[in-house]
Assembly symmetry: C2
Homo-oligomer: 202 residues x 2
């Protein structure tokens, strides 16, 4: 079975391909393997991670006629009522760096005591399968706290300010394989892999 990853992010493509490499009979492609004019532009206008992931997966499944997998994820900070949420990647403005974005988030939490800095990374993966466009969804959550300053150099995004009490480290202080085991994306992908395996065997 062929599966198309609905992303152009080469880091993510490599990560997911590696994760799915032990599924026999599966060939993993991405939208980079198709001519640019074959996939219509995708606007992430959804109000939830799931809506955004569905928009991406459905668009690619429809355009290619192949099963398509997309994810959308972000950070939910309880003291900010769940923000930045679906706006995680754009929080603080479009053109700014991860470091600037983290600084902005920390400034909003300046007077919030450590116990009330709980947060979680949430990832929603959606698989859409033509011709009937059946939809499969798997979510993964990773609980933690927002630090008062960035720490660690691995990963990306909010990883340096996301503290995991169980490990005594921020997400950015974990190695890639440690992160894959406990991260929101790793957890969602682990479940989705079972669905994919089952589809390949149909």
């Amino acid at each position: 079975m062929k599966l198309v990853l609905a992303t152009k992010n080469k880091g993510k493509i490599a990560e997911i391909k590696e994760f799915l490499s032990d599924v026999k009979g599966l060939e993993v492609l991405s939208i980079l393997d198709f001519p640019e004019d074959k996939i219509p532009p995708i606007e992430e206008t959804g109000k939830s991670f799931e809506e955004n992931a569905f928009i991406k997966a459905f668009t690619v499944a429809k355009a290619t006629g192949l099963p398509a997998l997309a994810d959308d994820s972000g950070l939910e900070v309880d003291a900010l009522g769940g923000k930045p949420g679906v706006r995680s990647a754009r929080f603080g403005g479009e053109g700014i760096t991860d470091a600037e974005r983290n600084k902005k988030l920390l400034s909003l939490l300046e007077n919030v005591p450590s116990k009330e800095r709980s947060a979680r990374f949430r990832c929603c993966m959606v698989l859409v399968v033509p011709p009937e466009f059946e939809k499969y969804v798997a979510e993964g959550v990773c609980e933690g706290y927002i630090t008062t300053e960035p720490r660690g150099s691995h990963g990306f995004g909010y990883d340096p300010i996301f503290y995991l009490p169980k490990y005594g480290k921020t997400m950015a202080e974990l190695t890639r394989s440690e992160k894959n085991k406990i991260s929101h994306r790793g957890k969602a992908l682990e479940k989705m892999k079972e669905i994919i395996r089952s589809l390949v065997n149909d």
Copy 2:
């Protein structure tokens, strides 16, 4: 792991319990195993199968603190623009029998030629897992045609007027085990079972 089925339908409970019986380490309950006042009344006000299944699963997961599984399904008739859809169980009125409901549907298709009588059963299963209420979704679709008169005595609902070209039979002419293999609910449950198995092993 304990799993609660968000249904009071004893036939469905028996069917799903049987289907999940080979998942080691899983104990399957239903809302019938809880005091009546523990589960708030559930209103299926959703606009899609998924919304309705989510409402049921989330309500039960929240009330019991246990993973909860719900499904919602129905018939989509192309010549009727996808109706009865989410209204399948109530189509034609609340108090009428399955036979009356089928008669009503056939009358709406009276002048529709056989080639244009395509339809599908669609089932959406949703699993919600506390404490973070992660959501998992699996869909199953079963393609067929609406007959001109009912045939067969197995199953229930629209089964006697749903024809499967591949089998030369209506859904109501299949045995329960034949139906489980190819039905929309069987297909969705097969995928969801892999998710459940993976959660039990976490």
